[in-house]
Structures are given as structure tokens and as C-alpha cells.
């Protein structure tokens, strides 16, 4: 018991000197905001996963619905018409169209602009078709079928739960819908029923020229004709015609000829009797077909592909579109190509979704900066502790024992002063691999020199004080004098050095990471700026440059303010206003 209280007494000076720095920081008019700022950044680092709105590695995609109008034989500029990708469009008349797409979006074009309509469902709609402006259907995922009755869209009962991909409405009492696994549904004017299917392959599109006649196309080159209630396999001109590629779209003209198209630029023609292969100028996926007249037809595809038919052959058109088409419908020489696959939201200026904008790879800068705070603080604090421990031990030993030990240690310090930090770290990376440890090691190995010098000079002056001499006379050993009498007295100075070292280490980490010496998959404020510089886009993308730099500066400022208030503690001459007090040397 007595032993225990004795030990407690020995530790007391440590606790006393531990409390003093915090009091000093809080008492200082600049130290207080500094410590508040530092605590805030500490919170940011701890709660980075919560604060980050996106995964910093993910390339963010923008999903918008776009439409390219085809008016009077001319393609017009593609424009954004909704905030979700569109899958299908139906042109009712030159002044009226509908488009449907992901999350149940329904857009209506009244001749001037696209307006979003209230939708009864929120799952992806794949296809839409109209018999008249007052009657149409749209179908989509999970067997969803919705009906437009001239007033509003409403969901109707579906006999299946399978993905439906195509619908055609040639009359008010006749409609066909097709979907995956060969599903074929028929509307008889009051309800949908499932028909016996001649195939088990996926069906992707259906086109009806009249209530009695139509064509269904689908996976692996499936083409099925519907003739007066019967399903008939397509006939081909020769044995060699036909395809094994998936077909995505089909259109038949009132005159009876038509086209179907699909994967890998596949195009098949229909002459009214037989299907035949056509040579295609494209090898990428084609998604929509629309016929103007016997001498004019269009096919659209991914990446803004538009192909034109001049009555004999298909040729590529360069219209400068870049977004992918998902569907095309042309009626009475007027139509829309619609779609867009998600595209990468690159170099976006700050928006509500991306508070600091995005990088050239569509990555969210806000989230990167949030995660970057972790790297900065971990490196800053770990390195500062390392530096301080080395510095204090060497300073204590050097200052207390003096003589030869001191001489050797201080010559080592002199040598360390000859090494420039950044080149030293660069050499380390050249020899080893870039990693966080190399950065910590480089900063740690080089910056203890200052700490050691400062601690040493403090110890040198402490050793001459009477109470140390008294302790020595009382028979205290070296270790005891160092630990019990000297160490507590250099704690405030060590604290100050710790704060300075944190600031220095954070700047050094940012600098080395900026030079590309940091680990590549870990975000730090320096690596963000490194990526920005590598991309070349930073010269205009201010939102990419400013946030990480401001965060570095604020963090370092906060520790500087803290260290400044600690300086007052270790150097009482800095205290108060005009230092005219008697005794101030």
C-alpha cells in the first residue's frame, strides 16, 4: 500500500505537467480556435465513411434520358429530356410521342417539349406502343403492364412475372407483348392472357402491321411471324441466310418490307416473303430500327451509332452523337431516337450530388477528401510520435550525460542536417516500393534532428539547476533523475515539439504523395492533387485543386495555432502585452 502511494507520488509531476499544456492551449485566444479546428478535422477523419457520399474509387455515372429528334428528313441535336435512361419510344403523330424507361419513368412529348407524367409503377419499363392518342400500353420488368386510357396510366393484371421486353398495339382489342423465355401475351380488349409459345428463347421486340399480322424477334436469331392467330417460323431466301445473334428490334413498312437488327451490327432485310442478310457497316450492337419509306430507313445503336438506308444499302452517318441509343420509332417521316446508357460523369463542377465535383474518371472528390483526412492524420500523428520519441530520448541522453556521448549524438544530428527530406524520400522509394511506411520512415528518420537539439539544450540548462544537484547529493541514480526530475520538466517542450511535428509531417506527407511517392490505392490530400496534375485537367478544374489544398492548410494551421499557444507556455517572455515587467531579461 505504502509502495503504491509512493509510485503514485512519483507519477504526479507527469500528470501535473500533462494538464498544463491543455490549459495553456485553451487559454490562448488563437489556441482555442486552433484546437477546435483540429478536433473538427479529427472528427472528419474518424467519421470519413459516414461523411463520404460516394465510394471514392467508383467511377460515378450520370444517368439521363436523351432524345434525338428526326424532323422533316433531318436528324436534330440530341438533348437531355429526363433524369433516367429511356428504353423505348412510341411516336403517335408528328406532334405527340411517349417514351418510357428506368424506374417507371414516362415522358410525354406534346410537340414542344417533354413532360414527365405520373407513373403507377417504379420499375423499369422496357417498351411502349400506342394504337391512338387515347389508347396505349407499356410493359416492363416482372411482367408489369400499364395501360393508358386517354386520361391516366394505370397498372393492369398480368398473367406472368417475367421480364416483358416488347409490346405492339395494333387495335383497341388486340395487342401482343413479348418477353424473356419465349413469353407471348395477348390482349383481347379486357384482359391479358398467355399464349402457347413456339419458342423458349427470349423475345425482344414485336411489330404489328395490322391486328392480324406481325413479327416477333429475339435471342439467337429468332424470327417468328404472326399470321391470323398462328405463329409461323420465318422463311429465308437461301440456306445461308439467317443469324445466330440476338435481335433487338424489328420494323415492317405498310408496303410489307422490313428490317430487323441486333448484336454485332447484324441487319436482316424482309422483302415481304423471305428474310435475307444485309451487309452492315457496323460491328457494334444496334438497338432500334425505323422506316420512313421504301428508300429511306434508319438504324440506331450504342455509342450514338446511326445507319442510313438509301434503298439499296446501309451506310454510317456521322451526327456527332456520343450517347447510346436504346430505341427508335419513326412514323409519318417523323420520329425520335431515344436512350442513353449511363455515361461517366467526368469533370463535373460541384453539384448537390457531388459537393466538390468529380475527377476525370468520374470519381467523387468530396469523398476522396474525406478519406484523405484519415491518411493525413494517421501519418501526421504516428510520424510525430515517432519523431518525438526519438528526439526526446536522444536529447535527454545527450544533454544529461554530455561528454563523448553528447558529441557523437550531435555529430549524427549534424549529418542528418545535411540530408534534404524530399530527395531522401525519393531515394527510399527508388530502392523500395511506394508505400505509406516509406513516407512515415522518411519523415521520421530525418526530422527528429530538430527535436533532439531543442530538447538537449533544455536538458543542459535543467541539469545545472539546484534541485537536480540536490537529488544527486541525495543519492538518486541517473535513471531516477532523468525520469523523475528532468522528464516532467521537458514535457511542455515535448508537447510543443509534438504539435510542430504533426504540422510538419502532414505537409511532408502531402508533398511526397503529390510527387507520386505514396501508395497508389490509398487516398490522401496529396495523392488527389497528384492525380489532378497527372490528368492535366486541373488547369481548368478548380474544384479538383482547391478543396484538398484548403484541407491541408486548415489542418496545418490548426496545429500551428496550438503550437503557438504552447510556445507561450515554454517561453514565458512571450506572455501578455507589453513585456515591461521587471525581471524580464
Amino acid at each position: 500500500m505504502a509502495q503504491k502511494s509512493n509510485r503514485w507520488k512519483q507519477l504526479q509531476p507527469y500528470f501535473q505537467s500533462m494538464k498544463a499544456p491543455f490549459k495553456a492551449i485553451w487559454a490562448d485566444p488563437l489556441g482555442r480556435p486552433g484546437s477546435i479546428l483540429f478536433i473538427l478535422i479529427l472528427f472528419v477523419a474518424i467519421f470519413a465513411p459516414v461523411l463520404a457520399t460516394h465510394d471514392p474509387h467508383v467511377m460515378n455515372e450520370n444517368i439521363e434520358g436523351t432524345a434525338a429528334p428526326f424532323v422533316d428528313g433531318e436528324w436534330q441535336r440530341m438533348s437531355v429530356i429526363g433524369d433516367r435512361p429511356l428504353n423505348s419510344t412510341a411516336v403517335i403523330s408528328p406532334g405527340e410521342s411517349y417514351s418510357v424507361g428506368r424506374e417507371g419513368i414516362i415522358l410525354h412529348f406534346d410537340g414542344d417539349e417533354w413532360v414527365e407524367k405520373e407513373s403507377p409503377v417504379d420499375i423499369s419499363l422496357q417498351s411502349v406502343d400506342f394504337f391512338s392518342p387515347e389508347f396505349g400500353f407499356a410493359v416492363g420488368e416482372k411482367g408489369t403492364i400499364i395501360l393508358f386510357d386517354g386520361q391516366a396510366w394505370q397498372q393492369v393484371d398480368s398473367p406472368v412475372e417475367i421480364m416483358l421486353k416488347g409490346v405492339a398495339v395494333p387495335a383497341e382489342d388486340m395487342a401482343l407483348a413479348v418477353g424473356e423465355e419465349g413469353t407471348i401475351l395477348q390482349w383481347d380488349g379486357s384482359s391479358w392472357t398467355r399464349l402457347e409459345s413456339p419458342t423458349e428463347r427470349d423475345l425482344n421486340a414485336v411489330f404489328m402491321t395490322s391486328p392480324d399480322s406481325g413479327v416477333l424477334v429475339g435471342g439467337r436469331g429468332t424470327i417468328i411471324h404472326y399470321e391470323e392467330g398462328e405463329f409461323v417460323n420465318a422463311s429465308f431466301r437461301t440456306m445461308l441466310d439467317g443469324t445466330f445473334r440476338d435481335l433487338n428490334a424489328v420494323a415492317i413498312s405498310p408496303e410489307g418490307f422490313g428490317f430487323t437488327t441486333g448484336q454485332r451490327g447484324e441487319i436482316l432485310g424482309f422483302d415481304g416473303e423471305d428474310w435475307f442478310n444485309m451487309s452492315s457497316p457496323e460491328s457494334r450492337e444496334l438497338t432500334g430500327v425505323g422506316i420512313v419509306d421504301a428508300d429511306k430507313a434508319y438504324i440506331v445503336g450504342i455509342r450514338g451509332i446511326v445507319l442510313e438506308y438509301d434503298g439499296e444499302a446501309w451506310s454510317r452517318m456521322d451526327l456527332g452523337y456520343r450517347r447510346s441509343f436504346r430505341g427508335l420509332d419513326i412514323s409519318e417521316g417523323y420520329g425520335f431516337g431515344i436512350g442513353t446508357d449511363p455515361y461517366i460523369n467526368e469533370l463535373s463542377p460541384p453539384t448537390r450530388d457531388h459537393l466538390f465535383g468529380t475527377t476525370h474518371l468520374g470519381r467523387d472528390i468530396w469523398s476522396q477528401v474525406m478519406y484523405g483526412s484519415r491518411t493525413a492524420l494517421i501519418v501526421g500523428i504516428v510520424t510525430a510520435l515517432l519523431v518525438n520519441i526519438i528526439g526526446v530520448v536522444i536529447g535527454l541522453v545527450s544533454g544529461y550525460f554530455r561528454g563523448r556521448v553528447d558529441n557523437i549524438l550531435m555529430r549524427i544530428v549534424d549529418i542528418m542536417y545535411g540530408l534534404p527530406l524530399e530527395p531522401f524520400a525519393i531515394i527510399l522509394v527508388l530502392i523500395f516500393r511506394p508505400s505509406l511506411w516509406i513516407i512515415i520512415l522518411a519523415i521520421g528518420l530525418l526530422t527528429w534532428r530538430t527535436n533532439a537539439r531543442i530538447i538537449r539544450s533544455q536538458v543542459l540548462s535543467l541539469v545545472e539547476r539546484p534541485f537536480i544537484k540536490a537529488a544527486r547529493v541525495a543519492g538518486a541514480g541517473d535513471l531516477r533523475i532523468i525520469l523523475v526530475h528532468i522528464a516532467p520538466n521537458i514535457l511542455p517542450l515535448a508537447f510543443l515539439q509534438l504539435a510542430v511535428a504533426i504540422g510538419y509531417a502532414i505537409t511532408a506527407e502531402a508533398t511526397l504523395s503529390f510527387l507520386g511517392l505514396g501508395p497508389p490505392r490509398l487516398y490522401s490530400w496529396g495523392t488527389i492533387l497528384h492525380a489532378a496534375r497527372l490528368s492535366g485537367a486541373w488547369r481548368t478544374a478548380w474544384w479538383w485543386i482547391i478543396p484538398p489544398g484548403v484541407f491541408i492548410s486548415l489542418t496545418v494551421v490548426s496545429v500551428f495555432l496550438i503550437s503557438r499557444s504552447l510556445e507561450v507556455l515554454t517561453n514565458p517572455r512571450l506572455r501578455g502585452g507589453n513585456t515591461r515587467a521587471p525581471g524580464s531579461k
Binding site: 484538398p548 489544398g549 512571450l574
Partner: protein
């Protein structure tokens, strides 16, 4: 011990330090690249031809002999062959070093001539809003990483306003017969403005803040009171008597800071595509050009040591109280 002895001792110490670093570097590089022949010769070279290359470069001798050859060559200014350029390193590196110095000196001179003056002004306006904002502004400038301010400057002056060049030392293409020919042109000065200002602003804050602190200390001393009693004007007391005495810690700090600046220079050279030592050492890491990295590093370390030495001399010159005695500082 006199001044002369101090200088000689300090010079000797410098040479020893340099030697130790050089030795360390030699063995560290040998550890990383045990057989430099593999980097020098093409693959598929016959064994005899490889042996010839080894003999030519002295790589067939024992390590300690190689070490002395290396030392001898280094002090003759012979740094070896660059893996990347496939030519002698020395002429390349000397030019890069001049390029570095020509950027660094103006910047350091600007920061250490304006910084202390600003510090005097701050201490003069003690307790005012000027002082407060000066401290916070100074701390912020010192905290903002120098490469970041450089990037902001490039964006602001180079891209948005389009008034200053942002990369290189001269407008390309240019012809120059020598280093002096390259540097003594308006075009060069024009290219110097942004990088030099970036460095100067970064290093200005520290002397300013230190100057303010020591000025406040000095103002409490007796001789200031004496000056006031003599009826000297505030201005004269400030600049002639107080500032001169407060300059000392600034110089001490300068010794350390200028040493650090040699390393900090790397990042500025990278941002401004300044063809100096720093950019070269980064490039040598990318191309695994070991001898080049070694030469650049030693030159930079040498620069640091020379700067520290000069600062020490200046310190003694400024403070007559300094006694050169044994035992180091």
C-alpha cells in the same frame, strides 16, 4: 579559438559529413542493385562481352576497391553514366544545378528581405487588427503546401488571366549558347516570376513571425528604454536598434530553412516544369536511373551543407557576442 580556426573546423566537418553520406549512399544503392551490369548491358550479350564491360567499369574488383574508385571519381566530378540518357552524368547535372540555384536564390532573397520587415511592422502594431490578421495570414501561407499555391498561381495567372508563363525556363523553341546566354534575357525573367514568387511567399511567413516574436522580446530590454530616454524617434528605435538585435534568431532559422528549401524546391520544379535537380531526381526514379539519382542527391545534400555553412558564418558576423568555442552550438 579564433574565427579562422572555426571556419576551418567547420569546413572539415562538412567534408566528413559529405563523405559519410556519400558512403552511406554507395552501400545503400549496392544493396538495392547488387549487379549494376544488368542495368548497363543489353540482354543476350555473351559472357565474354559482359566480363569486358565489367572490367571496363571496374565491377570485377572487390567491393572496397570499387568504393574507393567511386570516391575518387566523385571528387573529380566524374559521376558515371546515366542509364536513361546513355551519356555522362556530370555535364547534365551541373547545368540542372545551376538552373535550380538561379530559381532558388532570388526566391530566398525576396522572402528573407521582406519577411523580417513585415515582422517589424507586425510587432509595431501590437494588439491591433493588423497584427492579428498578419499572424493568421502568415500561418496560413506557411501551412499551405508550396506545390498547391504554385498550382493555384498557375491557374490564376497562367490560365485564367493568361499573363504569365507557367512552365519551363524559356519560351520554346529557343537557342542559347551557354547558361549565361540562357539566363540573361527578359524571357527568362518572365518565366522566373511565378515559381520564384511561389517559393518566396511560402518562406516569407517564417522570418516574419519569428521577427515579430523576437522584436517583442527585444522591446522589453533596457537599451530600448535608454534609446527612448535619449529622445530617438520611434522609427529609428525600431529599425536601427531593435530590429538589428532581433535579426539573430531569424538568421538561425534561415540556416535550417534554407537547408529545407533545397528539398522543398523539388516539388516547385515539378509543378512549374523547371528543368532543375529536383525534377531530374524525380525523373530518375521513374526511369530507375540509379547513377543519376545518386548524383542529384549528393549535389542537393552538398547544397544543403554549403547553405548551412554560409548561414553559420553570417550568424557570427551579425552577432559579435558569438564566441567560437569547442563543443558545437
Amino acid at each position: 579559438m579564433g574565427k579562422k580556426e572555426f571556419i576551418i573546423r567547420r569546413l572539415l566537418q562538412m567534408v566528413v559529413t559529405f563523405l559519410i553520406i556519400l558512403t552511406g549512399l554507395f552501400f545503400v544503392f549496392r544493396l538495392a542493385l547488387p549487379d549494376p551490369t544488368s542495368a548497363l548491358v543489353m540482354e543476350g550479350l555473351s559472357a565474354e562481352a559482359q566480363a569486358m564491360v565489367r572490367a571496363r567499369f571496374g565491377l570485377d574488383r572487390p567491393l572496397w576497391q570499387q568504393y574507393f574508385i567511386y570516391l575518387g571519381n566523385f571528387f573529380q566530378g566524374e559521376f558515371g553514366m546515366s542509364f536513361h540518357y546513355r551519356s555522362a552524368i556530370a555535364p547534365i547535372v551541373w547545368e540542372k544545378m545551376l538552373n535550380t540555384l538561379v530559381l532558388m536564390f532570388p526566391a530566398i532573397i525576396i522572402s528573407y528581405s521582406t519577411g523580417p520587415i513585415l515582422g517589424v511592422i507586425l510587432s509595431w502594431r501590437r494588439g491591433s487588427r493588423v497584427e492579428y490578421s498578419g499572424i493568421v495570414g502568415g500561418l496560413f501561407l506557411r501551412s499551405a503546401p508550396v506545390f498547391w499555391t504554385g498550382m493555384i498561381f498557375i491557374m490564376l495567372f497562367g490560365i485564367t488571366l493568361g499573363i504569365l508563363p507557367t512552365s519551363g525556363m524559356r519560351t520554346l523553341p529557343y537557342e542559347a549558347t551557354g547558361f549565361l546566354d540562357k539566363v540573361f534575357t527578359l524571357d527568362f525573367l518572365w518565366h522566373l516570376i511565378l515559381p520564384a514568387m511561389t517559393i518566396a511567399i511560402y518562406y516569407m511567413a517564417l522570418p516574419m513571425l519569428i521577427m515579430r516574436n523576437t522584436m517583442l522580446e527585444v522591446m522589453g530590454e533596457d537599451f530600448i528604454e535608454l534609446c527612448q530616454a535619449k529622445g530617438l524617434s520611434e522609427r529609428v528605435i525600431m529599425y536601427k536598434h531593435a530590429a538589428r538585435n532581433a535579426l539573430l534568431p531569424v538568421v538561425t532559422q534561415a540556416a535550417i530553412t534554407i537547408g529545407l528549401a533545397v528539398g522543398g524546391q523539388v516539388v516547385v520544379e515539378v509543378v512549374f516544369s523547371w528543368p532543375g535537380l529536383g525534377r531530374e531526381i524525380i525523373q530518375s526514379v521513374r526511369t530507375s536511373d540509379f547513377p543519376m539519382a545518386q548524383a542529384c542527391f549528393m549535389l542537393m545534400a552538398g547544397m544543403v551543407m554549403v547553405m548551412n555553412f554560409l548561414a553559420d558564418l553570417l550568424y557570427g558576423y551579425l552577432d559579435p557576442r558569438v564566441v567560437y568555442q569547442k563543443g558545437g552550438k
